[in-house]
């Protein structure tokens, strides 16, 4: 934050370039992508380095980062650049040659910025964040940073329990990031203009006083001898007891990337993404996103049409993703998909809808989207194998619904369906998991019958369930990986022994152990932060990548570090919590009423379902009154006008052609 530093922040590119010839996929480090924005340093009053602590190929397509890039760079007094995790081959060279963590736009050192804004989508990015902060030359612990160091602020779903990162971050923001980054920028500008009153703490106190920015250092945590937290309490005046999440009204009023960056390097998603609504009230009890992003707020149909049109023109991409937590639930999804399919019929543009609903309506949408002849697979997510299991997790779909839907799909010409399930859910028995095999057999049976063909296939993808904070399952005992692995073996054997259908069913699963570490980090407290640091010091990075992840390293360090408090890995994961226990994130308020959440957990144990408040009436989750907000859904009744797409104005075409 030293000013002026324009001349003092030269590009590091000339020092980086010689190293790039020696690393894999160097293009990810050179920047300069189509639609990237490089602003003059000196003119900016607030400078953001937006960081995603994973590789470029994963981080760049992240929609949250793209939205904040747009929101910040739209302001003429703010500058935002991007930085991603560098792979170990480049990290080694950077350390050897004294080159710090850099941004991609200006190849500026990350440490020169005012803010490092970190998007945390998964707990398995924690070690990468420590690696990036260390490569940046920043003191690892927030308490050791000076007034000239950037403020490290994290957001994203994982920020709903940032406690394992509490010692390393300066601040965390819950909820929607758009207004939050503008508020932080404005407070920084005022603080600079006033001559930096109170130094670094003065700025952080200004943030904390808003009641919407969590500064972990301003809270003290005390522990009982047996391990549980006694209290999390503010340790200085002016700091609120609880921190509230940000929530936006009217998504149409907020910028959405219309000129998103077009990567040169290959990334995991090569499409133009439009967020068609935010939030979800289906109430699936395992789903953290559905609990912490309430209420539902839709973008309008005509606005979505405009974004798609502009986004495709600005990027040259040929795939559009209509994103949300459950896209088929948009109040005008039928009109939207039909009218977009009409608009782009005959062009090479394809539309995709990540869909998880299991009903005939979903199939109609899929048919609209595959009009151009391209048929991607049909995917459904029943999540639980038995009816009882699905009631426990509040995924309200019956086996008959599923069979009716896949039957219609096979009649319409699909040959393959993919089904997602979880293993290790609360109250789960062996029989619940074996029910997955029965369901798959019925799918193949009905497929063969209605299509009259033998080449019907079903892929089962089974993930290990990890209880997440701010959900009804936050009190649940995580299943032991040995139990998960045992049940998956039973499932595999059941499918293999099904001589009529077994060969048509393929089962995909991973071992349950990485889930245990994810569970440790998800529901961890500040003591777990010391495990993260120990693992990183032992060489752990890129934990989301199986070739880098080491369960043994995590287990060893957890055992060593946590022993000093008489607790261990199991204490954080496979131990059930009771209602009276102080959870590490209790002071972080995503709007859910704590009693409602506990009641929802009790309902889960009783196999009681709760309806979606968009159709079944309010269930008193508390979000709307607590955050003074409300559901914003259509229909608007508006329509997309036909559009000429895909061909150039005549100027480019020779008249005698």
């Amino acid at each position: 934050m030293t000013e002026p530093i324009d001349a003092g922040v030269p590009s590091l590119y000339s020092r980086l370039e010689p190293l790039l010839a020696q690393v894999t996929r160097p293009i990810q480090y050179v920047g300069g992508e189509q639609n990237s924005i490089l602003k003059p340093w000196a003119a900016a009053e607030a400078r953001w380095c937006l960081m995603y602590p994973d590789a470029y190929e994963v981080g760049q397509p992240n929609q949250g980062l793209a939205v904040l890039y747009e929101v910040l760079n739209q302001r003429d007094w703010i500058l935002a650049e991007r930085s991603f995790a560098v792979w170990p081959d480049l990290a080694r060279l950077m350390r050897r040659h004294g080159l710090p963590q850099f941004t991609l736009e200006g190849h500026r050192p990350v440490r020169a910025f005012d803010f490092i804004g970190v998007s945390l989508s998964t707990e398995l990015g924690y070690t990468n964040l420590l690696e990036a902060l260390d490569l940046a030359g920043l003191p690892l612990r927030a308490a050791d940073r000076s007034v000239d160091d950037p403020v490290v602020v994290v957001g994203g779903h994982v920020a709903s329990n940032p406690e394992p990162m509490a010692d390393f971050i300066d601040a965390a923001v819950l909820g929607d990031g758009e207004q939050a980054v503008l508020d932080l920028s404005a407070w920084l500008r005022q603080w600079k203009a006033a001559g930096r009153p109170g130094g670094r703490d003065g700025l952080l106190e200004r943030f904390a006083a808003s009641g919407q920015v969590y500064v972990p250092r301003f809270y003290s945590v005390s522990y009982a001898p047996a391990g549980p937290i006694v209290a999390v309490a503010p340790n200085r005046p002016g700091v609120p007891e609880r921190v509230r999440k940000y929530v936006l009204d009217d998504l149409d009023d907020w910028p959405h990337p219309v000129r998103p960056l077009v990567p040169l390097a290959e990334t995991v998603h090569e499409r133009y993404s439009v967020e068609i609504f935010r939030g979800c009230t289906r109430g699936c009890r395992f789903c953290q996103a559905g609990m912490i992003t309430r209420p539902v707020r839709e973008r309008s149909l005509d606005r979505i049409g405009l974004l798609v049109e502009r986004g495709l023109a600005a990027t040259g991409l040929d795939e559009v993703g209509l994103l949300s937590l459950s896209s088929a639930d948009h109040s005008e999804i039928a009109a939207l998909t039909q009218e977009l399919a009409d608009r782009y019929e005959g062009s090479q543009v394809s539309l995709s809808l990540p869909s998880t609903r299991v009903d005939a309506f979903n199939l109609e949408l899929a048919e609209q989207l595959s009009r151009n002849g391209r048929r991607t697979g049909l995917t459904f997510a029943p999540e639980g194998g038995s009816e009882r299991m699905r009631r426990v997790i509040n995924k309200n779909v019956s086996a008959d619904d599923l069979i009716a839907t896949v039957s219609a799909a096979f009649q319409a010409g699909w040959r393959q369906v993919k089904l997602y399930f979880m293993c290790g859910l609360p109250t789960e028995t062996d029989d619940d998991v074996l029910a997955i095999a029965d369901l798959a057999s019925r799918v193949i049976e009905v497929g063969r019958r209605v299509s009259g063909r033998r080449d019907i296939g079903c892929t089962l993808s089974v993930g290990a369930f990890v209880p997440k904070p701010q959900t009804p399952f936050q009190w649940a005992a995580q299943a032991d990986p040995q139990i998960v692995d045992h049940r998956l073996r039973l499932l595999r054997d059941a499918i293999r022994s099904d001589r009529r259908h077994g060969r048509a069913i393929s089962l995909r699963y991973h071992d349950g152990r990485p889930g245990l570490i994810e569970g440790l980090l998800a529901r961890g407290d500040r003591r777990v932060g010391q495990v993260v640091e120990a693992v990183w010091r032992d060489g752990g990075v890129f934990d989301g990548w199986s070739e880098h992840f080491s369960f043994e390293r995590w287990a060893d360090q957890a055992e060593r570090v946590l022993a000093r408090w008489g607790i261990d890995l199991d204490w954080f994961t496979t131990r059930p919590r009771d209602q009276g226990e102080v959870l590490p994130w209790d002071h972080l308020d995503v709007g859910l009423d704590q009693d409602w959440l506990w009641q929802d957990w009790q309902d889960a144990l009783d196999s009681q379902v709760v309806g979606d408040c968009r159709w079944a009436g309010c269930s008193d989750c508390g979000v709307c009154p607590e955050l003074a907000t409300q559901i914003e859904i259509g229909p608007t009744g508006r329509h997309l006008i036909p559009l000429t797409v895909g061909s150039k104005p005549p100027a480019a075409v020779r008249s005698d052609g």
Partner: protein, 264 residues
Amino acid sequence: MARAQPPQQPPPVQRLLLRYAKRGRLRFASHRDFARAFERALRRAGLPMAYSSGFTPHPRISYANPAATGAESEAEYLELGLAQVTDPAVVRTELDQALPDGFDVLRVVERVAGPLAERLQASLWSVDLSAWPSPARLSAVERFEAAEQVWVSRLTKHGQRDFDARSAMVSWSWREADWQVVLRHQVPLVRPDDLVSALVQIEPSGQTPLPPRLLRLAQGPLLGRTVGDPLAPEDPPCESMTAAGAEYGIMRARSETQPAPLLG
């Protein structure tokens, strides 16, 4: 219920040949990175692309012999099929504007007879050996030339392969510390980094911490000891200076060249 095949796409009405450069930072792009960027640029430019038939139609583009990741090039070529006849000059301007800086479209012409790949018989490479002590680089090149064979090893997508790097060299010259080499395209392809491996093998004292920069100056038919212009309407006579070489004024077969004065 059988899935109906989508309608057949009509064949292209016009085929264009493009020469483009890969410069500066974008030398780190792989060929796949370039191909993705190029197809998106075509769509942004709104050019009337011809597509292949089938469930996933692809724009009709044939790439030939792309330079390796990390090498710069002034002489990359591809062939493009269009669904409407379009002025090549317009295609050049529109595409060049739509592509990121560093991927630069240099020339666009109507296709000349014969497949493009057959016209790309050799390349003129410039290898920057300025980091080598001058006696070492002179001696290494002299000894490389004198050798009958120099076997090098490189990891290819088919695994570790050994091949003779010497056999591909047609001619060479010095331009200050840049070693400029005409390499015949053969199977397995000998790349300029293979030449560097060969030089290091011959003269280990030349080994530098960073690999030398590589730049392809020309690519085309092999005309005696020089590289011709693949976009020329018909094969020019062997002795003429080609457009590709003339642009740089450096095409000299080794036998005609005195060793350049060495710069310390």
